[in-house]
């Protein structure tokens, strides 16, 4: 296969199976990693390391919360499982729901609906429309889709889906994000699992085709690669594959058993936890059978993240406790972990604060030698990296998704104000309006989400100036040399955070200049590899023919 072919996005992809040998290697790495974390803990919790006690406790809490999450990730990877793909039973009735809202570009629907029409398994496509724009009806009809006008319903997408459920009667429903272009064999990869009467929904990988358009897009896509690969495969292995993001196929009976699709900012996740609570099983099939859009500009990315942060906390605060008893152990763990993902905003805020507390108020949380810290963290870092790179073998499309994902990390850190805001909003239970994820880059001016980052940069510069001034004119000579290492070590710590922040600011700046392109225009549906490469079990004939 040529390199170009390997990187071809419009080609059916499936993650490789997880062999016993792989499990063996991963287990060895995880054991080594966990031991290294214990060694780190042994060094961390020493009396001589306590600076200001309250801050030390807080720092320890945050740091070890992070470590705990790392261990959870590793344990999750040990469960990696790739399901076989059963061939679908013939003649099932299937609906595809896709929604349109005011402001969404018409041409995108032209493309998506055409792609839906190309899906080979017999189905009916419905456009759930509240644009009140007659052209949408025309486009739907042009591609043989049923146009449903559903105006003035609550809960944006979910409200329309629930109304459409009342108006239709298909046994299975694929809810497709309108920016996602499905491959012809989409349903062949999901319907077979419903042979098991207990299967409530089937989630597939979420993949993109515009991640090359900007730093933000690349970074945002990088943040999801592991999730729609080894992470979800592990969750499936432990019986808690969740419905998240785009393109989940549901059993009507399952949705009806929980009173319809969940409504909220993280509506997929709400639906998912309720279905699990009602006893339905779920499948994650690690295949690329559609590609969609990832936010290209910093502002849209932040809006999306704010929405998710707020929505996901909502699941943590209101759904998890309600359904707690009905969930399995791994489901409890998994929903709690997903629900608290965005706490990283609060913890980043604290990390960011440490040097400033030191410079302006003299507080020092921990008296640790920097060299000792590095030496003790180093093994954890090495094993974490080894595990990270090893599980990339089970990405849905390793050729384009592999890497250390530094852009994703920079963007994640630079998003702390957004995550933090989402966290605060959920703590006080305040609403943010439903913001649809932008389909086109929002360009022309600096995103307001970059403001906290610019403020952070200024605080750093002011502090830097203050420290220089203080040490030049105020600090006595007798103290200067003894405090030199500590002072500049802290400054370095602050600088690392600021460099990450600058990454965010640059991403926001790049976003100003982005040309607003309609990415879907360049997609040629003819180029989607129509050959059904789905490797069914049971039914070799389909595979061959």
């Amino acid at each position: 296969m040529t390199k170009k072919n390997k990187q071809n996005l419009w080609q059916y992809r499936r993650a490789r199976p997880f062999s016993q040998t792989a499990r063996f290697v991963l287990l060895a790495l995880v054991v080594a990693g966990v031991v290294s974390i214990f060694q780190l803990a042994d060094w961390w919790f020493r009396e001589e390391h306590i600076g200001s006690l309250a801050l030390y406790i807080m720092l320890s809490f945050i740091f070890w919360y992070g470590m705990l999450r790392v261990i959870l990730y590793w344990i999750n990877y040990l469960g990696i499982k790739r399901p076989d793909i059963p061939a679908p039973e013939p003649d099932k009735s299937v609906a595809i729901f896709t929604t349109s809202s005011p402001g969404e570009p018409l041409s995108m629907f032209d493309k998506t609906l055409e792609a839906c029409a190309n899906i080979t398994y017999p189905h009916t496509t419905y456009l759930l429309d509240d644009t009140q724009d007659p052209r949408f009806k025309e486009v739907a009809e042009k591609h043989g889709a049923v146009w449903l006008e559903l105006v003035g319903l609550p809960g944006a997408k979910a409200g329309k889906v629930n109304k459409a459920l009342e108006l239709t009667d298909e046994e299975f429903i694929l809810i497709l994000d309108p920016d996602h272009i499905p491959f012809p064999n989409f349903l062949d990869n999901t319907l077979g699992y419903f042979k098991n009467e207990k299967t409530g929904f089937v989630q597939v990988s979420q993949a993109y085709y515009n991640q090359y358009r900007s730093f933000t897009a690349a970074a945002a896509a990088e943040q999801t690669y592991h999730f729609y690969g080894p992470t979800m495969m592990g969750m499936y292995g432990y019986g808690n594959a969740v419905a998240i993001g785009a393109n989940c196929t549901f059993r009507r009976k399952a949705l009806e058993s929980i009173g319809g699709h969940g409504i909220g900012l993280a509506e997929d996740l709400i639906t998912s936890i309720r279905l699990h609570g009602a006893g339905w099983k779920s499948v994650f099939n690690p295949v690329v059978v559609s590609r969609g859009l990832v936010p290209e500009d910093f502002g849209s990315f932040c809006k999306q993240q704010l929405k998710w942060a707020r929505g996901v906390h909502e699941v943590l605060f209101s759904e998890v406790p309600k359904l707690f008893k009905k969930l399995t152990f791994w489901q409890k763990l998994s929903y709690s972990a997903i629900g608290s993902y965005y706490l990283v905003g609060a913890t980043s805020f604290f990390y960011f604060l440490i040097p400033y507390l030191f410079f302006w108020m003299g507080f020092l949380p921990a008296k640790m030698h920097f060299a000792d810290f590095i030496l003790n963290v180093f093994p954890v870092g090495v094993f974490a990296l080894a595990i990270y790179l090893f599980v990339q073998n089970w990405l849905s499309h390793p050729a384009t998704e592999r890497g250390v994902h530094w852009r994703g990390m920079v963007l994640k850190f630079a998003s702390w104000p957004v995550f933090f805001l989402g966290f605060l909003l959920s703590v006080v239970n305040a609403e943010i309006p439903y913001i649809p994820t932008a389909k086109k880059a929002e360009t022309g001016k600096m995103s307001p989400f970059a403001r906290p980052l610019i403020i952070q940069l200024f605080i750093f510069l002011i502090t830097f100036g203050y420290v220089i001034f203080k040490r030049r004119y105020i600090t006595p000579e007798s103290e200067l040399f003894l405090s030199s290492e500590q002072t500049w070590g802290m400054m370095f710590f602050a600088l690392v955070a600021v460099i990450m922040t600058i990454g965010g600011i640059l991403a926001a700046r790049e976003s100003i200049k982005l040309t607003s392109e309609e990415a879907w225009e360049t997609v040629d549906l003819e180029n989607i590899n129509k050959e059904n490469k789905t490797e069914y079990i049971f039914d070799k004939k389909v595979l061959l023919g």
């Binding site: 063996f24 060895a28 995880v30 054991v31 000792d372 030496l375 006595p476 007798s478 003894l482």
Partner: protein
């Protein structure tokens, strides 16, 4: 059944492999600990000197400017080994994060300390490496550092140094082990960092080695000959590594005698150091002794080695006598009475619980009666 067995064995094998990996890694980590630490020490030292260059260079009130007279001595180490004037100095326990307390003390005495005294213990921890930051700071202030270097051998980790004896029995004949090279790994680290400090400094290793009650390197654990062997080994190790800026201070306990048995030889010793602390009546074993009673009666015995003498810990508590008089008598008279006593280091420790159950306070910086009388003494020497 068979698959179960395979799964079980492979799981156990994987766990074993994991444990092996981490052990191999830890070993590697321990091996690289030295170099990585070295790197950090070097970086820290560069940062300090860069900051010194940019921030402290133009400081008009630099202490080192007024200490310029000492440069003659610092540039020629033989002058420090046999000075033609009295070198004053101090240790202050409050000077961990800044040397301001030492500066305050010298200001109160209207003098300048040529020497600043610090303590360092042997061991694996970062703070048990050569205190490069602190000696650099002392040098930048214009003074010469003295390090009292205490061989606490049990501070070395068993896991890191499998060749060392069990901790329980390590102190027994510990000096012999030093002399045989068991602790060269540690000397090597000191040598590495010492090379980054090109200025003269005093090292007072294994002090009070003749006191059978106190430190593990005392006669209850070691033969006198082993002390000498250990001392020579260390000095030779440093010299062979090209270190020529160390002035070696041999420092027996003044009251326990047997100096001859512990003296490593003229080639290996530059100064004689003795503690001269008056504990007054704080403990059953102590009583009020004057400086003459503590130091004077042993002066001739110490003087036979023909080396300059340093009172490495000089001070008095206030309980049981007249502390002002103690300082005044000791300080005004010693240059005349004991001409070879060439250096006095004040022991300024306000929180001393190293020897008694009570916390002892050797501070006198706020006692103007004492400080003024010392100032008078110093002025009188100058007249002479």
């Amino acid at each position: 059944m068979n698959t179960k067995l395979i799964r079980l064995t492979s799981t156990i094998a994987a766990i074993a492999l994991g444990v092996f990996l981490i052990n191999a890694f830890t070993l590697l980590g321990n091996k690289s600990k030295g170099p990585i630490e070295d790197l950090f020490v070097q970086t820290g030292s560069y940062i300090t000197s860069i900051e010194g260059y940019f921030i402290n260079k133009s400081n008009k009130k630099k202490r080192s400017k007024s200490m310029r007279w000492l440069n003659v001595y610092k540039k020629d180490i033989s002058q420090l080994k046999n000075p033609d004037r009295i070198l004053l100095g101090a240790y202050d326990n409050q000077s961990k994060e800044n040397f301001q307390p030492v500066i305050q003390l010298e200001n109160s005495l209207n003098t300048q300390f040529s020497i600043i005294h610090i303590y360092a213990a042997w061991g694996d921890k970062s703070e048990q490496r050569f205190p490069l930051t602190r000696v650099n700071a002392i040098n930048e202030l214009g003074s010469v550092p003295i390090i009292t270097w205490e061989p606490w051998l049990t501070d070395f980790d068993d896991d890191l140094h499998s060749h060392l004896k069990e901790k329980e029995s390590r102190s027994k004949n510990g000096l012999k082990d030093i002399s045989e090279g068991s602790y060269d790994f540690y000397l090597e680290k000191w040598v590495h960092d010492l090379k980054l400090f090109e200025q003269p400094l005093f090292i007072r290793m294994g002090h009070e080695m003749n006191d059978p009650y106190r430190y593990p390197w005392g006669p209850h654990n070691n033969e006198p000959a082993h002390f000498i062997a250990a001392w020579k080994h260390i000095v030779d190790y440093f010299r062979n590594a090209g270190i020529d800026n160390v002035i070696w201070v041999w420092s027996p306990h003044i009251a326990y005698g047997l100096f001859e048995q512990y003296y490593p030889g003229d080639e290996y010793v530059d100064w004689i150091g003795v503690g001269t602390l008056n504990y007054g009546t704080v403990a059953t074993w102590s009583q009020w002794w004057t400086f003459d009673e503590i130091f004077g009666i042993h002066y001739e015995e110490l003087n036979q080695f023909n080396k300059p003498i340093m009172a490495t810990e000089f001070g008095s508590l206030a309980v049981g006598g007249d502390r002002v008089k103690w300082y005044k008598d000791a300080f005004c008279e010693f240059p005349e009475k004991y001409p070879e006593l060439k250096s006095m280091l004040f022991f300024h420790f306000n929180n001393d619980n190293t020897l008694t159950y009570k916390t002892l306070d050797w501070y006198f910086v706020g006692d103007t009666l004492i400080t003024n009388s010392i100032v008078d003494c110093i002025n009188n020497w100058a007249v002479e």
